[in-house]
């Protein structure tokens, strides 16, 4: 294990307990983004979170998108960064950019 917690194991555990789970994964980074590609976060429909995809800057927005993906079943590719209009809502203070892929475990 290379992280503080084993996100995939947590996701499996939540599923086994009957929760609906989505996984968010950093798939591309530019500049001084805080977490490397492959960093992951698991989210449940009920709002539980494990892992991280940034230094805490975008986790809230990713969790919201994850809950939408759990409901729709449709994966999403999210862009975050200073050149993105969303930067005004949830941006990366460090000036980096990241792409995050969100998929349901189903």
């Amino acid at each position: 294990m290379n992280e503080v917690e084993d996100v995939l194991a947590v996701a499996e555990g939540w599923r086994a307990a009957g929760e609906k789970v989505a996984l968010a994964t950093v798939v591309e980074t530019w500049g001084s983004s805080p977490r490397p590609a492959g960093s992951q976060m698991a989210v449940t429909a009920g709002g539980r979170m494990a892992g991280s995809v940034s230094g805490g800057c975008i986790e809230g927005a990713v969790a919201e998108a994850a809950r939408e993906t759990i409901a729709s079943g449709v994966p999403r590719l999210l862009d975050f960064g200073v050149t993105n209009e969303r930067a005004w809502e949830v941006g990366l203070a460090c000036g980096g950019k990241v792409k995050v892929f969100v998929e349901a475990v189903a």
């Binding site: 499996e12 994964t25 590719l77 792409k99």
Partner: protein, 232 residues
């Protein structure tokens, strides 16, 4: 991701098999490689990602695939179930190393002193043969006892271990190098040994020394300048 694929990925990780989870963006089609059913170009790219230990998005034939590398943890052999080892073993585990503590002295190598850590009570030559260090392994000797440290260093020098460290003063280290030279290791080989071990942070306590050793191991693994061996 299907639950079956997640289970297969977790099984591979538990078995310490290197795998790559390839995900097509943005539709989420996936392969767990190696997989004979995967396209050849994807298999080649996945093998390269595994080798480079770097997850990344790649463009293949007009498609974008995210290659998520799941290599087994790098490994650390600690020779000497001593006080510094008691700090180093959990620190190293937290930074992602699979740790094995080697010490034939039963009073030292106990699970009470090393909870949850893999312990080998074999003599270091046998224990190191079993540990089989590779290019993703680090080896640190901490016993101060040539009977225990030397066979482990001998084995480490005959491997591709990315880091070899030996605790001991400059004087101790000079004597150690002399003994290892008699075992047939030349200066180039001996220059791989970090000794005195650890980054120079004026560490005093056992946990501080453990931090200095682990920082040096990480620096060597990540290619940082301070992890390179300085001229002796």
């Amino acid at each position: 991701m299907t639950p079956d694929l997640l289970a297969a990925l977790q099984a591979a990780r538990a078995a310490k098999r290197p795998v790559v989870l390839a995900t097509r963006l943005p539709d989420g089609a996936q392969y767990l490689l190696p997989d004979p059913k995967a396209p050849a170009a994807l298999a080649v790219a996945a093998a390269a990602a595994l080798h480079g230990e770097a997850s990344a998005s790649v463009a293949l034939g007009g498609e974008t695939w995210f290659l998520h590398v799941h290599n087994p943890p790098p490994r650390l052999a600690i020779i000497g179930a001593v006080h510094i080892a008691q700090a180093l073993a959990p620190f190293a585990a937290q930074t992602g190393f699979g740790v094995t503590v080697i010490d034939p002295r039963g009073a030292f190598a106990t699970s009470e002193r090393f909870p949850g850590v893999e312990i080998s009570r074999d003599w270091p030559d046998e224990a190191m043969a079993r540990f089989a260090p590779d290019a993703r392994s680090a080896v640190v000797t901490l016993t101060h006892d040539p009977k225990l440290d030397d066979p482990a260093l001998d084995a480490a020098l005959r491997s591709e271990a990315f880091y070899i460290g030996a605790l001991g003063s400059r004087k101790t280290h000079a004597a150690r190098l002399k003994r290892l030279r008699e075992l047939g290791h030349d200066d180039a080989a001996l220059s791989r040994i970090h000794g005195p071990v650890g980054l120079d942070i004026e560490a005093v306590t056992a946990p501080e020394i453990a931090v200095s050793i682990l920082a040096e191991i990480i620096a060597a693994r990540r290619g940082a300048a301070m992890g390179q061996k300085a001229a002796a």
